[in-house]
Amino acid sequence: MTIRHHPKDSLRLAYVAGQMDPATALIMATHLSLCAQCRAAAADDECIGGALLEGAEPMPLRSDALARVMARLGAPEAIHRTEPSADGTPAPLRAFLGHELSCVRWRRLGPRLGYVTLYRRGSLAMRLLRGAPGTEVGQHTHRGTEYTVVLRGGYSDESGNYGPGDFQIASADLTHNPVADVGEDCINLAVTDGGLQFRSRVQNVVASLFGF
């Protein structure tokens, strides 16, 4: 799998530093599961975290801290192994869903589009989206940033072509009309902050009815 589109360094850093909302953290974790390059970069970021921890000016604990902890030492955990996924669902996504991607119960949005909303908090929403080959989403802009990771298939828009593992950052100023590639269904995980604004009035009504 050749991944050509990656999250920005600052986004990866925020993930590694632990300053991220759960939705963006899941999309990052999903990309990391698919992208060896970003995994290596994230390991370097963690290494910087480790070096900062090592170099931190120690702050003494209460005098009884060690005794309290020693008194609580129990049996160590056995090594935990993530079970391999039957259909290649990235582990963080599978953990969030509670099942494999192939068991998702899609809600229909017209004959060729499906979606499931996985998370919503304020203006932030995370969804799985599924488009039949060749489906057009429709010309739209974003009220805020939209992150997308391709899980299956691929799509193209004005900014390029996105295949499995690719991470698209669509900022508020991008107007695009993603079209699912021919071949297989395109399945994406997307996080939007602020919702979509379609060019077509009908689509805007539909979108608002469905909570997009």
Binding site: D9, S10, L13, A14, V16, A17, G18, Q19, P22, A25, L26, A29, T30, L32, S33, A36, R39, A43, D44, E46, C47, I48, G49, G50, A51, L52, L53, E54, G55, A56, E57, P58, M59, P60, L61, R62, A65, L66, R68, V69, M70, R72, L73, G74, P76, E77, A78, I79, H80, R81, T82, P84, S85, G88, P90, A91, P92, A95, F96
Partner: protein, 174 residues
């Protein structure tokens, strides 16, 4: 030492680890804005997690300090969020093929981190401060900018500069 803890459930080794890391974890949390009492409790919890999870530590992948950083970070995230927080499992069999396997990678990891530590200390103070804050603070960059009374763009460019410097150094080492 961590490996002694893992292999033999060595309490003596654990005490030494505790003496070294617990006060650093507390410092990491307090500098990030956690209240002192909570940082104290969390540092103890983090060390308990180190004991519990010691078997998962892989010295080829990360140094003890890096691994313990991730444990403390995860506990801090969990403390603040009632929702479960997604994170990826570096031991996921899905991507085992690209994990490092040479026998000397543990040594390389240690050398890398040693170099990094020196490089971090050599950063200009304004860059050092921002890197420290961006790793340790619970606050988003916008809030860091407000507190330091500098524009958000400056925060971002300082982080970028500092990270580039550190990464160049890491790149040179590998």
């Amino acid at each position: 030492m961590l490996r002694r803890v893992a292999a033999f459930q060595d309490r003596q080794a654990f005490q030494e680890l505790f003496a070294h890391f617990a006060p650093r974890i507390k410092a990491y949390l307090v500098r990030g804005g956690t209240a002192s009492q909570q940082a104290e409790d969390l540092a103890q919890e983090a060390m308990l997690a180190v004991w519990r999870k010691a078997a998962q530590f892989d010295s080829n992948r990360a140094s003890a300090a890096t691994w313990i950083f991730t444990i403390a970070r995860n506990l801090r995230i969990d403390m603040h969020r009632r929702e479960r927080h997604p994170r990826f499992d570096p031991a996921d069999p899905f991507f085992m093929p690209d994990s490092p396997d040479p026998a000397d990678s543990a040594l390389q990891t240690r050398q890398r981190e040693h170099q990094l530590r020196k490089a971090i200390q050599a950063l200009p103070p304004d860059q050092f401060r921002i890197v420290m804050l961006s790793f340790f603070s619970e606050k988003p960059h916008s809030q860091i900018a407000a507190e330091l009374d500098i524009p958000l763009g400056t925060v971002k460019s300082r982080i970028r500069l500092a990270m580039m410097r550190l990464k160049t150094l890491l790149g040179d080492e590998s």
